[in-house]
């Protein structure tokens, strides 16, 4: 298990992505799964950066448990209690004019991961994604 704690800001996105991809590369993660995991990590981290502490800022911890078989990544913040999974899915059949862009990030996470779990414990939002690599 590894973890990294950074300030939850857009500027730290590349640090977080690099932290995860370096580990995925050591287990020969398939390219498609790697892309899906990178998108999931970006969407979830950026959500924390934009909303968890707004208008203030705070920290986010990203904890990884990556084996050859699965990648489990947990996002922890101490911001406002917020379960992104409770949000209704966007209607992805609408035309450009009717489209609202909100919720698309979380929707992609739900669609591409094998499991997504949320809990609020001890004042912390804890969101975990699991992706099978084989």
């Amino acid at each position: 298990m590894k973890d990294i704690t950074v300030k939850a800001t857009d500027e730290e996105l590349n640090t977080v992505i690099a932290f995860v991809t370096e580990q995925l590369e050591t287990v020969d993660c398939p390219m498609k799964a790697q892309m899906q995991l990178e998108v999931a990590v970006e969407e979830l981290f950026v959500n924390i950066a934009h909303y968890a502490y707004a208008p203030e800022t705070g920290n986010a911890t990203i904890r990884t448990e990556i084996t050859g078989e699965t990648a489990e990544i947990t996002f922890i913040d101490s911001g406002m209690p917020y379960d992104p999974l409770a949000k209704p899915d966007p209607d992805v059949t609408l035309s450009a004019e009717e489209r609202k862009i909100g919720g698309l990030g979380i929707y992609m996470v739900k669609k591409s991961m094998d499991d997504v779990r949320y809990e609020y414990t001890d004042g912390k939002n804890i969101l975990t994604i699991v992706k099978k690599l084989v």
């Binding site: 857009d10 996105l13 892309m35 059949t93 929707y107 591409s112």
Partner: protein, 98 residues
């Protein structure tokens, strides 16, 4: 991300290389807004685009809305990984993909 623009009359081709993410998407949005005046055909060349997240999709959506008013928008050269994202999000139907 690298952006290359090539204008030919009322056709503007924007080639995007690298990663279109939360950090880089605002640059693309600025480029589109600054150069789309009088353009009837906007082409995004994605043959060298490696990655796109919802922030990138947002820029494509706003560009599509602009072009719906003044002409058309075409997405060209998107690779397998990018197409997969378009499929999951319904953008495969919403965009004009060649």
């Amino acid at each position: 991300m690298t952006i290359n623009k090539n204008q030919n009359g009322e056709t503007l081709t924007i080639a995007i290389e690298g990663r279109l993410d939360t950090v880089t998407a605002p640059q693309l949005e600025t480029e589109v807004k600054a150069s789309v005046d009088g353009i009837k055909e906007l082409i995004f060349d994605m043959s060298k685009l490696e990655y796109i997240s919802s922030a990138g999709l947002r820029v494509l959506l706003s560009s599509q809305k602009i072009m719906n008013k003044q002409g058309k928008m075409i997405v060209r050269g998107a690779g397998e990984a990018i197409m997969e994202i378009f499929d999951v999000t319904g953008f495969a139907d919403l965009l004009n993909i060649e």
